[in-house]
Amino acid sequence: MAGTDDKAGRPIVVVTGMGIVTSLGTGIEDNWRKLTAGESGIRPIGRFATEGLKTRIAGTVDFVPVEPLCGPALCERMGEMAAQEAVSQSGIGSRGRFPGPLFVAVPPNEVEWPQRQEMGALARGNDAFDYDNVLRTASTGAFSKYGTRFLFASIADRLADAFGTQGSPISVTTACASGASAIQLGLEAIRRCETDAALCVGTDGTVNPETLIRFSLLSALSTQNDPAQAAAKPFSKNRDGFVMAEGAAALVLESLAAAKARGAKILGVIAGCGEMADSFHRTRSSPDGKPIIASVRNAIADAGLAPDDIDYINAHGTGTPENDKMEYLGLATVLGERTKDVPVSSNKSMIGHTLSAAGTVEAVFTLLTLAHQRIPPTINYQVPDPSIPLDVVPNAARDASVAHALSNSFGFGGQNVSLVMSREAA
């Protein structure tokens, strides 16, 4: 249709609703205000004892009551809050009926230690603990309350019920790129004309002893515990790892034609998406940066743009020595001479790394950047890294003219996804 298709003849996909929960708080307004004020949501972990741990800080979401607390329950609740905000803002569908599919970025769903202890206690009786006892106990139905809670698709299943989305909900997990993958799947479905709308959610609430220790054993986390707010230092010379965090975000995607037809307010455009897997190593990027470069280039090309059109980059910017170096290499290769002039900031300096939710959370912040024409800062930038000569929007937000923005998401397992978002439909 004239005016509602992109240059490649595909339906233009716009955003008509957004919702967010991070360690900074609940809702678009509160988050945007704190993010642009350079506030940090990172704090000492109070949820469990951190005795003996190298890292004792995180961006936990402690203000969302979930009883009893476990990862999937917190993921579900935060996802529901974000999706509720997005669907309400969009005004799409009717109560309990969202007219499109659900794509949810979720962390691997696992039984956690409190439940494992509970099983262990019941199973062992007077014997030494072993899994054979657990099997005998499980088959008696003693744990039927966990019947579906820890099944891998349970979060998506319950969100689908809560919002009345259509068809089979997809739980997508591409490690720390999951949130971007969820948006990508929604974008593609609308471009295929399978649906006029999609609900894309990313959620992660898995700060618990074992997940923290797993990342810690891979030396991925910052150990600068005090002060907690200063630990996440993307692009700084003294960066020493990322800070685990929790959060959720949701976007209502619609074809421009459908959004216009119902008179919806258009908040921004998902203009393009690019992807390229890395076959180099399980946790490290190919040293030549080729997969990252290809991911960024593919996204810009998919949007029908050129690298010169990109005005702002919402970096993956984890603050690990490896990521920031490789992301710089990738960006510098694509941007060329403009590299030092294009503002690049990392939300993770304030909200930490929301892991499976990060791609969605940071897409929402990128869309807010486009809408407000104001770039959130990279805080804790005190010691510039001379090998990463970027304008990281150090320490204070800045007004800017931003028509097109890029958001990167990279994950373990060679996952690279880049999104291009635009202020207005081209």
């Binding site: 691997p108 039984v111 088959s139 019947g147 739980s171 810690s216 891979l218 076959s279 399980r282």
Partner: protein, 396 residues
């Protein structure tokens, strides 16, 4: 659908208790000994993986050490599929291959869990004890075997598949939707070449326990899927299954032969109230029915044996009055890869133009007259999700 675009299955990679590869699977299905590959773990019936030399598809021992069994099984099966389609080692094609993996989540170190659970009640400071033991006892690389997307990651590393990499998480529906979305992308011109599948380690005690929290597991000895009755459950399987799905013109240009044409794939998710599955399957069938050309078709059912889903599917299939096979009687049930496994086995049947013999006594499975030209594959999840796909002999 973009005009004229058609999807072919040009490669199959399967590994199960029956062995590895198409020939041995067909041979075993024809032999008619469905419980032969099953064994007991605790009160459960499981189908362990058959003999396999992982070195053949995962040559570096270092890679194998970085994987837990489900990843080795899956990476192996993916290698078989790439080989079967003639794209293994072809860097140009692999860099354009779009991968969708259906996965659960990864494995645990059961010995570490046991040590901790043994020590926790005696520990003076249980929280500090837990932290200390996890810090000292967890292998750093175990985490990489626990991440759901690290099967895809290992396939990228070992086989060089890098076009794109997406992992759908969670039970049977993840496998159905992996196929559905790969096919939709090919039909729409978003993709030319896809590697789709997954794997499952059916012998994980933590997972057996988890599935039986909901009462989904088969207990009390092996029976074929249709003979398990109202107290039925699924027999957890170790298996890996991958397909290469390819746009027809792309396959023709490189001289690849079609094993079958993948005509359509649909999924749904009904509320699991009485009659819900039957109703959902009816709705899906209406979508697929216009593509069913003749009386020469059969159903390969993904029925797991778990109730009430299997009972409802049986009632639906009875309405159709069509020849049915449930390969799960032979290979067991690996939730995420099961749909792809059944598509692969259905493709083998099409290639032979015939079904393997019925293998149960309730009469659901019966003989079929004439040449088999189409197969509908069902995928009803043990707790959620329903799906159908249609394959037929490709016309070249």
């Amino acid at each position: 659908m973009a005009e004229g675009r058609e999807a072919w299955i040009t490669g199959i990679g399967i590994l199960s208790c029956l062995g590895e590869g198409p020939e041995i699977h067909w041979q075993r299905l024809m032999e008619g000994k469905p419980g032969a590959g099953a064994k007991a773990i605790g009160p459960y019936v499981v189908h362990p993986i058959g003999p396999v030399d992982f070195d053949k598809q995962i040559p570096k021992r270092g890679d194998q050490r970085q994987m837990e069994p489900w990843q080795r099984i899956g990476t192996y099966a993916a290698g078989l599929a790439l080989e079967s389609a003639g794209i293994k080692g072809n860097r140009e094609l692999l860099a354009r291959t779009d991968m969708i993996v259906a996965a659960g989540s990864g494995e645990r170190d059961l010995a570490v869990d046991a040590t901790i659970l043994e020590g926790l009640p005696k520990a003076e400071n249980p929280a500090a004890f837990l932290n200390e033991r996890l810090m000292n006892d967890l292998r750093p690389t175990l985490f990489l075997a626990q991440l759901s997307n690290l099967l895809a990651g290992n396939i990228s590393i070992v086989h060089g598949v890098t076009g794109s990499s997406r992992t759908f998480m969670g039970e049977e529906a993840a496998g159905v939707d992996a196929v559905r979305i790969a096919l939709a992308r090919i039909h729409a011109g978003q993709s030319e070449l896809a590697l789709v599948g997954g794997s499952h380690n059916g012998e994980r005690k933590d997972l057996l326990a988890q599935y039986d929290f909901g009462g989904f597991m088969l207990k009390g000895g092996y029976r074929p899927v249709w003979e398990r009755g109202p107290e039925g459950g699924f027999a957890s399987a170790s298996l890996g299954a991958f397909l290469i799905i390819e746009e027809r013109a792309h396959a023709e240009r490189r001289g690849a032969k079609p094993l079958a044409r993948l005509v359509a794939a649909f999924s749904d998710r009904c509320e699991r109230k009485p009659g819900g599955v039957r109703q959902s399957l009816r709705g899906l069938w209406e979508k697929i029915a216009p593509s069913i050309a003749s009386g020469h078709y059969a159903v390969f059912s993904g029925a797991s044996g778990a109730e009430p889903a299997t009972g409802e599917e049986r009632a639906f299939l009875a309405e159709l009055g069509v020849a049915v096979r449930a390969p799960g009687s032979y290979v067991g049930h690996g939730p995420e890869p099961q749909f792809v496994m059944n598509l692969a086995l259905a493709t083998l049947a099409l290639g032979h133009g015939a079904l393997y013999p019925p293998c149960e006594r309730t009469g659901v499975e019966r003989n079929m007259e004439g040449k088999l030209t189409q197969v509908v594959v069902t995928g009803v999840g043990h707790w959620r999700g329903e799906g159908l796909a249609l394959i037929e002999a490709a016309r070249t």
